[in-house]
Point group: C2
Chain length 280, copies 2
């Protein structure tokens, strides 16, 4: 029996890095108050594990004389300034791809572009991005129907996108703007970790006899990995952890593929691998 | 009988302006050698009329001690420099919208963008635009199939378009580039004189009993005006000048619409109007 794991399965680069930095901080600053600004990832197991290591999710921003970890999503500019002023040690675990967007927005602001942020205005990543537009004019746009006559008279439009936006939505919005007269400065800031994970999942599904997809039942990106695998194979099993895995279903398979959604931690994936190895 | 003429019928703003400047130059510099760099418009009547006024189309660029009129399309940078060096009086009749593109290209060059010029590489307007990209890297792209992997590794791409490009082709090419990672600075430099002429022709066609479309039989933009009118009215007549107009066809009409392609001079349009007025 051979197990082929999708290389990009599980956490994306930015989340992996943030969790690692949080664990390192919990060791380095043992005994200090350590906070993250918002949960480091939407996975309760990981958040609980960090709590056990002394890393709490901050209840508000009035933190003083503590260690503060900025998660991959980023933090609004004024909150960051307040945290710095209040004598906290700042551990910057903001995803470098997200940080790049802050820089793009600052550059667009300096050059007097009206800034369009393609994204979900309630998402913390987008709120943080918007905070870098500061006093300059900007709008957060989630789909092309929000592009109206308002934009027709704007001569210089700068565009950035939330890292998790679909390329399709980004192009639809750009197209609606690009027909107007004027100048556009567009930064394609979409992160391709999701599309790479999907592509690699398809590649592995083509080589195996069955596929195990690991992730939360409500995780949209994990469901998508399940659907994509199902288009190639009949035997695809969607599980949350090794507890859900029925070994009888896979015991006669020669090659088993494993993939996992973006919020699935490495130890859950490893747990599944170990359980299958126990079959041998 | 009422005659409704499409306001934007005939020459576009840039060509109208160039012809006017050529006529003015022929009066101001009477007796001097006066040349245009390339025919001022693709209309033999107009070129012949200018020749009679002493304005010749230059056979080469070795012109000295003369008056040189730069037509609306623009002129390649090195040719312009040569003309200036050779003690010529330069009459700049380059369309301001085309000149804006030269400025955009120079700005993109200064900021180290790889420049994509959307257009037809054999067209004089595009050749002149490209000359402003100078030594910097650029490519002239006529359709999205020419966008290949070459562009994937380019981090900063600047885009301009020939004034007469279709919005559809411009968007198709932009879309093929915008999916790549990186930064894009796009100037929508498409001139809307063609689309305005079309829109106004449709508006007039809706108000009249018949439509007269004036222009060369081989002129693509005039044919389009004929087709658009035909979608609204049965009685649409495509003529090159008043000689082709059969008054019997329109004598019982109450309202007559008149439109004309981009290369149709005002005196041809007026000739048609006069012939119809003779019916009254």
């Amino acid at each position: 029996m051979e197990i082929i794991k999708v290389e990009s399965a599980g956490f994306c680069f930015g989340v992996k890095r943030a969790v690692k930095k949080a664990i390192e901080a919990s060791e380095k600053f043992k005994g200090s108050k350590i906070y993250t600004i918002g949960p480091i990832i939407h996975n309760n197991d990981v958040v609980r594990d960090l709590e056990e290591r002394g890393v709490e999710v901050a209840k508000n921003f009035n933190i003083k004389n503590s260690v503060v970890i900025l998660r991959s999503h980023g933090v609004e500019k004024d909150i960051l300034e307040k945290l710095k002023k209040n004598n906290n040690i700042i551990i910057d675990a903001i995803c470098p791809y997200v940080k790049k967007i802050h820089k793009c927005v600052e550059e667009l602001k300096k050059e007097n572009y009206f800034i369009v942020i393609i994204g979900d205005k309630n998402h913390p990543e987008v709120k943080a991005i918007a905070s870098y537009a500061g006093e300059s004019f900007y709008k957060i746009i989630s789909n092309e129907n929000e592009i109206n006559d308002f934009f027709k008279d704007i001569k210089k439009i700068g565009i950035v996108a939330q890292t998790t936006q679909s390329v399709e939505n980004y192009l639809n919005i750009c197209n609606k703007l690009l027909v107007n007269k004027g100048e556009f400065r567009i930064f394609n800031t979409i992160c391709d970790s999701t599309s790479i994970r999907q592509k690699e999942t398809i590649e592995v599904a083509k080589q195996v006899d069955c596929m195990i997809v690991i992730g939360g039942k409500h995780s949209a990106n994990t469901k998508r990995l399940f659907e994509l695998s199902k288009e190639i194979l009949d035997n695809v099993y969607f599980i949350e952890s090794e507890k859900d895995l029925d070994l009888n279903l896979i015991k006669n398979k020669q090659k088993i593929g494993i993939t996992a959604g973006a919020s699935t931690p490495e130890n859950i994936i490893e747990g599944v691998v170990e359980k299958i190895r126990g079959l041998k």
